[in-house]
Chain length 236, copies 2
């Protein structure tokens, strides 16, 4: 049976971390809200199931519904050989994903520092201040942490965990993609100091299934509805 | 062997969710940074281990070091009967914890909407706007979600998951504690519409081990260094 992925149909957003894992795994899945009337199905489901996700994305696998991006990846990683089999390694991989989730939330808040219920234009003054902090302190701090992890990986610096690809390599790729879209100048500067992160990003882009996916219509383009938005005034 | 918990020694913060689980489990643990010179040990450890946590809290269990609050609770829940044994139930419990982590991060950002590197006083204008959104929209939305989960629990509305206590009941207790400290007026209003959440909060406070813990010096008081801060101008 196919997995059913539920996520907003017009953005990469948090759903993209799940899409990348499904694509790399070669898993059969339906991106439900992008099908005809699928969005209505998604909304109805959130309103009626016994274990309702707080927000998309969520994944349906038979009778099991899983919300929260990192929890979905924890589930998929174990099933598709995208995470170490040993419990400590699996938890470490998950811990890295949770930290990626933290910077993704901060990236979102650069353009919505006051309220998701307000337009960007109504919180632009606050956004200018928050984006400066994000560029100057937060992007370097997070990328340095990933660089450190790569450098300390006892089996080599080509992957965050172990010697083969895990879902957090895919997620770090997507994070760098998003940061590069939203903050091209600041991200380019930060990547100069984190060469291992830059190399991993480039290596993931060349993986056959990922390359095919990125060139396909299944990959939605970045846009100013998503988490990573290009507002030139927020980058320097 | 005792668990070693590493967290900032003067605040409840995110470490408190771990402390509550350890206390309810009756687990043997050392709150390392509160011991003499423990803070220096914590900082050194983050700088030198092969798998460095991005930030406290982290838990050391023998050779295993686990960062990220939700990952720590996933680990402890399975070991101390504070989560369901079936994989789907365990993942659902974890998903609830991750959503609690989301509102905790939002609560933090009410007083630090621009930058954690700046004082509250230097981002007060932004804080006033963000706190209004948090009070008016976010607290009710999250508490409604917990209320829905309690109402839909097929085994009764006394616990978020199943018919016995899990770590997310403890975490929801702590969330309500924190919100009540920081936003007493707004939280009181929201709890009127979420009676099951209010009841669960009251029931957790009466559990013998939790009651003992809350009255002990191990429970740090809320203060204006932590995640939940009482700035009267941010509550209405």
């Amino acid at each position: 049976m196919s997995y059913e992925l539920y996520y907003w149909p017009t953005i990469q957003g948090r759903g993209e971390f799940v899409r990348l894992a499904l694509e790399e795994a070669g898993a059969d899945y339906i991106d439900v809200a992008r099908e005809s009337e699928g969005l209505a199905v998604m909304i109805r489901m959130m309103d009626h199931v016994e274990r309702p996700p707080f927000a998309p994305p969520f994944l349906k696998d038979g009778e099991t519904i899983i919300g929260q991006t990192a929890a979905i990846l924890l589930y998929l990683g174990a099933r598709h050989d995208l995470a170490p089999k040993d419990p400590a390694g699996g938890l470490w991989t998950h811990q890295i994903q949770l930290t990626i989730a933290d910077i993704v939330a901060e990236a979102h808040d650069t353009h919505h520092p006051v309220a998701i219920s307000l337009y960007y234009e109504d919180q632009k003054a606050e956004a200018l201040r928050r984006a400066k902090e994000f560029r100057d302190n937060r992007i370097p701090k997070f990328l340095d942490w990933f660089e450190t992890i790569l450098a300390r990986n006892p089996t080599g610096d080509g992957h965050l965990v172990g010697r083969t690809l895990t879902y957090v390599d895919l997620s770090l790729f997507q994070l760098v993609e998003g940061l590069t879209y939203a903050f091209p100048k600041a991200t380019k500067r930060a990547l100069k100091d984190t060469p291992r992160v830059a190399s991993l990003h480039a290596a993931v882009a060349k993986r056959p299934r990922i390359k095919t996916y990125l060139a396909s219509p299944r990959r939605i383009s970045f846009n100013e509805e998503g988490i990573f938005r290009r507002y030139p005034e927020l980058d320097r």
